[in-house]
Symmetry: C2
Subunit: 355 residues, 2 copies
């Protein structure tokens, strides 16, 4: 059945929801998708009528540029359901702005704000049963844009597809993680696309990360490609370092993703009277702080993981273990974030967005 | 119709070739594809039975990792037809080795040599009418591997698809081109994936290249990301500089593609008594050589373009024009390359591979 909504989105609903076949207590991150998806194609220099249709495979030409030149950008967002059954997003405008920033760097057209918010809202209304209440539950939302032009010359596509797919999620990393500080491999170059959520940034990390994983580390903390001296980000997360009672995180640059969680953590820390120092931090300083006992915590911050406490890092074949501390910033800031996201506390910065 | 060949490739032929609908005098690079394509899927930890089927669109899950994380690598090769109607490849073993080197860096499985050569040979035999004789005509061949696993966690795919598609081609750049030397943007980082034909390397260049194109330059010559002082490559081509009678090209590194054309040009230059200096070359040296008249030529070298003479470069808002010279190395080396590729001259290095 097809109905025209007042938002001019064509909606075709699935006859029978697949939700009863899903075990929500046993979800693998990013493998289960909701009943519907949002699609909007860019053709003839404009975005066409957006559609919401049943989640399904799609037809692609083998020559589509996304397969050959990685012209693709994405976002990661989450929806939360409060105890009254209302669904909330967290700072969606930041994701909207960033996907267009990413798109611009990859020579792709901006997606209209109106379509983004109306599409997202309508999709979440239709699939709201997939957002489970309770802290730890969320619906992971993946907007993305891919180049669909069937031509293999190495130049920007004429045609694109914007999509939103949604996947019910539990916590991403459940235990504390150990990380390896990069000494040889790099994530991004100055003047490159590291600040963008460009698809190719992620595949480039898989191999060095797999080497780290074989040695028992879950993630790599990337350092600057030129010197490997400055700590930058962890690929799926920004990174915070607590030395004494100050929280330090690297400034954003064209190599580092401007994370929504990072930005929120900085604000919440300041709200809670924690000094935040946004400045370059070196491997030398980190190791010295670990040796003299002033390094109290390291944690990652990102939409998928929210906050991931780190238990140890390795550099120069030396393992540095973090102390187990009471009143950790990671725990209190994570709790603070989740309470705002799940509508359990005041939202004084206006970060929640009701569906 | 499906037939099993002795190579254990399943072959399904198109009933009626599309070739009569193609105007071979008016081809846009990479938009027209031959009647068939080669497909081999990686599932359950192994490459499945390869297939040759009619060229067609394919079904992909929206969650396929290639769309989200750019886990994709490719190669560019060409087939040539001699006056006796025999089809030749040029150093295909180099492309085979490189796609696996690229795949390894992106945490993708190696493709078996047997499948690569048998698949390529059979596909070119079936579609041999698409390879037109004569210098300037060729069949561009695009092997590529994409991550097909329907899961959006940021980790390597379990499933992949290897494909070969083919597109009849004329010369890529027909006129001399003007290039801009990069001062702000970068192509790759030390420790990154610049040496690999990774999909994401190309999308990352589209925006800075489009800025250059708006100002009348066809390509960018990338410099090292750390200092922007050393000349590296042009994104779709390696670059050669002739100062007096010496040909200079940057050494390969983890930032620079190890081009098959580059390697062949170095050999052919040496065969012809031209001194080749493989060493870092700086922007300062290039500008100085241009000013004092010792800079005679710059040209790009790559499979798509073969050799592309460059007429001018800009750096620091200053335009440096190359002289028009007789007996250019670009012209003689290009002629030499084409004669070998088209079986018009002796192949003393054993570069030709007959189909």
């Amino acid at each position: 059945m097809t109905e025209h909504t007042s938002h001019e989105i064509d909606v075709e609903k699935l006859e029978t929801s697949k939700i009863n076949a899903v075990n929500f207590d046993n979800l693998t991150f990013g493998r289960t998708f909701t009943d519907h998806m949002f699609i909007c194609d860019f053709e003839n220099d404009e975005w066409q009528t957006p559609r919401i249709i049943p989640y399904q495979a799609m037809t692609m030409e083998p020559s589509a540029r996304v397969f050959h030149y990685g012209q693709a950008v994405f976002e990661g967002m989450k929806a939360y359901k409060d105890k009254d059954g209302k669904v909330w997003l967290f700072r969606p405008e930041d994701n909207y702005n960033r996907i267009n920033k990413s798109a611009a760097r990859l020579a792709m057209p901006e997606f209209p704000k109106d379509y983004f918010f109306k599409g997202l809202t309508k999709l979440l209304q239709i699939d709201s049963a997939w957002v489970k209440p309770g802290k730890g539950n969320s619906l992971y939302i993946r907007p993305f844009i891919i180049a669909t032009d069937p031509a293999i010359s190495a130049s920007p596509s004429s045609n694109y597809r914007f999509m939103i797919i949604c996947s019910p999620a539990k916590a991403y990393y459940t235990d504390k993680i150990k990380v390896l500080v990069a000494e040889k491999y790099s994530r991004s170059a100055s003047g490159g696309v590291g600040f963008a959520k460009a698809a190719g940034n992620y595949a480039a990390q898989f191999y060095p990360t797999s080497l780290a994983q074989k040695r028992g580390f879950q993630q790599v903390i990337w350092t600057d490609a030129a010197t490997h001296e400055r700590l930058e980000e962890a690929g799926t997360m920004n990174v915070f370092f607590r030395i004494n009672d100050t929280l330090i995180t690297a400034p954003i640059s064209d190599r580092i993703l401007d994370g929504v969680t990072r930005r929120s953590i900085i604000q919440l820390a300041e709200d809670n009277g924690i000094t935040v120092d946004v400045r370059p931090i070196t491997v030398v300083e980190l190791k010295e702080a670990s040796r003299n006992g002033s390094l109290k915590e390291i944690f990652g911050a990102g939409t998928a993981a929210v906050i991931s406490p780190i238990s140890a890092f390795e550099h120069g074949e030396e393992l540095f273990e973090l102390p187990n501390i009471e009143n950790s910033y990671a725990d209190s800031l994570k709790d603070n974030m989740l309470n705002i996201q799940h509508n359990l506390t005041e939202d004084k910065h206006g970060w929640r967005y009701g569906i």
